[in-house]
């Protein structure tokens, strides 16, 4: 790899470590002295955003030729581009949407079970004066383009809120899982011996756990806040990454360029950070893209069985509510499912395209 001076003047690691030390200091201050400087989410972003910018975006920027090559190869997959487009749309919805829609928790019993625009549905209303059931025809209105649920909450607003939650969970849990998997994989392969043995036996144990059962168990016993769910999915989902990274590192270790830098007297740290990790990164990016849908689905399934965070409106929660009124208001169950399906589909398209683009053996 070419050494890049660039905008950091070759002191990238130094600047990054400095930033991390400042963050650690604030965190310790938060923990022991002052209460709640930042939310947990903010810490998460403050840790991973610089990490991605310094070691993900910046090398791509510095190495424009390679970036162009990857992009050209990804672009040839039409489905991958469509997937990427949809994901960008979702991100925009997640960031801007909550400012444009109504409050997703606003209850309005007068307008409950309104169908989406262009649909109509029959509703039976109990008339207090006559004591009879009156069947009325309800039309969807533009005020609630996606309809309302059984408490009169606006479904569009709920879905927009769900987009934000799902993307947050997908991104965060995957980053945590990938981070742990990368460290365990590289350490295990590079150190070998009893460290490798112990780490891989532990990975095997984690792998044989019935994943969803474990998730339900932990979330039920130890709390179901969104933050905790993300952490649990991240802390249990790293096994696949660790295995793949380990085997990739093992095969890299015997390659000539590693041997060459070793015989030139490079330190372990240099080999790991300058040669091993950059070379497994493409694999890691592919795993990350392909594991985001699984994470999103896991959270949706948790919310669906009633174990999600009850304070946030996620797609799974809407689906959970919709299941009760399948016969009276079908759209409540249909809409979040379609969003979930399209999101997972988009990530699968993109992941497939990236995998082919980053795999030098594949011919598109």
């Amino acid at each position: 790899m070419r050494r890049t001076g660039g905008i950091f003047g070759g002191r990238r690691n130094l600047i990054f470590s400095g930033l991390m030390l400042v963050l650690l200091f604030i965190f310790l201050l938060d923990l022991f002295v002052v209460d709640r400087i930042f939310e947990p989410f903010t810490y998460f972003y403050l840790f991973f955003a610089p990490l991605i910018i310094f070691y993900g975006v910046y090398p791509l920027y510095a190495n424009r030729r390679l970036t162009r090559y990857y992009w050209d190869r990804t672009k040839r997959h039409r489905l991958a581009v469509i997937g990427l487009g949809f994901i960008i749309f979702l991100v925009a919805v997640a960031i801007l949407g909550p400012f444009l829609t109504q409050d997703p928790t606003q209850v309005d019993f007068k307008n409950k079970n309104l169908p989406p625009v262009g649909f109509s549905s029959e509703q039976s209303i109990f008339d207090r004066n006559t004591g009879q059931l009156i069947t009325t025809e309800t039309q969807g209105t533009w005020r609630h383009p996606f309809g309302t649920d059984d408490k009169g909450r606006d479904l569009l607003a709920m879905l927009v809120s769900g987009t934000r939650i799902s993307l947050q969970i997908g991104l965060m849990a995957t980053l945590i899982a990938i981070f742990i998997g990368l460290i365990i994989g590289v350490v295990s392969a590079y150190l070998g011996g009893w460290v490798d043995n112990a780490l891989m036996r532990f990975t095997d144990i984690m792998m044989t756990f019935p994943f969803f059962l474990l998730l339900v168990l932990i979330v039920f016993l130890y709390g179901s806040s969104l933050w905790f769910i993300i952490l649990v999915i991240g802390l249990t989902g790293w096994t696949g990454t660790a295995r793949l990274v380990r085997s990739e590192t093992l095969s890299l270790r015997t390659r000539d360029f590693i041997m060459a830098s070793k015989s030139l007297g490079a330190s372990d740290r240099r080999i790991v950070f300058r040669h091993l990790i950059p070379n497994v990164m493409s694999l890691v990016i592919v795993i990350a893209t392909l594991s985001i849908p699984g994470v999103i689905l896991a959270e949706a399934a948790l919310s669906f069985i009633g174990l999600g965070d009850p304070t946030v409106t996620s797609w799974g929660l809407v689906l959970h509510a919709g299941q009760r009124s399948l016969d009276t208001a079908w759209w409540i169950a249909v809409e979040p499912g379609i969003m979930l399906f399209l999101t997972v589909l988009a990530f699968n398209f993109l992941g497939d395209g990236i995998r082919d683009a980053f795999d030098p053996r594949s011919q598109i």
């Binding site: 036996r201 044989t208 130890y222 069985i305 399948l326 997972v344 699968n348």
Partner: protein, 325 residues
């Protein structure tokens, strides 16, 4: 190959599986027993218990089942009992755990078996056919279909099927009738929707793997040779391509079987109200019935470990080039 080599390999793998299972039991036990609630809590909901002092009731129940001892002692006792073949006592159903499993495993088994049959037979057919017809319309439709199947959340698919076929059309019951005898024709009808729910994702996966495995082998030289010899196409595909493609396909089917037992089958059982292992383990988690939860986790882990081992053994049988010694 030498028989002894394979035997030693199997013994080593079984010992290892045993070790992993031990780890799984330990972690589950710790997670459950250091948790904030106790299996004795359910006795508080009991009417007769409510008139007494709740702390006393809990203490009495905990003393009866040995839950008041230190955790390491409970853990040790549990392991000793497990080694003796005593799987413990289910607090929430007041049955021995083994009895509970015996009553319910068949429901999970028939659901998973039928789904596997459905998914692998259709998946393989579509996958192989679409590989043979690569770059035709059939192939594109099959690819799009498999992407759809992989991406569709199976619990949502289940709800949609219930909505359309049970609520609107009224063809099926919205709930699984537990009175039906297992493996009967009436039961088969009741299982159609659950099997589609559980099987669609798997089928899509099998389609993709079958397609790529077949394509890999279609490009090989021996296929050209076979064609050059003038063999009819069905023999080229059936005898030369498929024989080589079957190995990766078997892997994914076995892998799915292990994964599905405690993945999708869970949610499917919950949605359709099928009283299988998934359903009872959920109830057990909510009741903090830890012997049941540990047992089912252990069963799940053992299924994964044993299918992995079985896959490796099937390999040596399907492909004599593979050896483990």
């Amino acid at each position: 190959m030498k028989r002894g080599g394979l035997q030693n390999y199997i013994i080593r793998r079984l010992l290892y599986a045993f070790l992993i299972a031990f780890g799984v039991v330990t972690i589950t036990f710790i997670l459950l027993r250091i948790g904030p609630s106790s299996p004795a809590d359910k006795y508080l909901a009991n009417m007769s218990a409510r008139t007494q002092d709740p702390a006393k009731v809990i203490a009495a129940v905990e003393a009866r089942y040995g839950l008041d001892k230190p955790i390491y002692e409970q853990y040790f006792n549990y392991l000793v009992n497990l080694a003796r073949g005593d799987w413990g006592w289910s607090f929430s159903t007041s049955l021995p755990v083994i009895e509970l499993i015996k009553r319910h495993w068949i429901y999970s088994f028939q659901l998973i078996l039928l789904s596997m049959l459905f998914a692998s037979s259709l998946g393989l057919l579509i996958g192989i056919y679409s590989a043979v017809k690569q770059y035709t319309k059939v192939d594109y439709i099959a690819t799009l279909f498999s992407f759809t199947g992989i991406s569709i959340p199976n619990f949502w698919l289940g709800i949609m099927l219930i909505m359309v076929f049970s609520v609107w059309l009224g063809w099926f019951k919205t709930y699984y009738d537990t009175g039906l005898p297992v493996f009967s024709l009436a039961n088969l009808k009741a299982l159609i929707l659950p099997v589609i729910t559980l099987g669609t994702g798997m089928m899509a996966g099998h389609t993709r793997y079958a397609r790529s495995a077949t394509l890999d082998n279609l490009r090989k030289d021996f296929v050209k040779t076979a064609r050059a010899k003038g063999l009819p196409e069905y023999i080229v595909i059936g005898k030369h391509v498929l024989r080589n493609a079957i190995l990766p396909i078997i892997t994914i089917i076995m892998f799915d079987m292990a994964g599905v037992v405690f993945g999708g089958a869970y949610l499917t059982e919950i949605i359709f109200g099928i009283p299988g292992l998934g359903q009872i383990s959920f109830n057990a988690i909510f009741a903090n019935d830890y012997p049941v939860v540990i047992t089912i986790t252990l069963i799940g882990a053992m299924v994964v470990l044993l299918t992995n081992l079985a896959t490796d053994i099937v390999y040596t049988w399907l492909d004599p080039r593979i050896r483990y010694d």
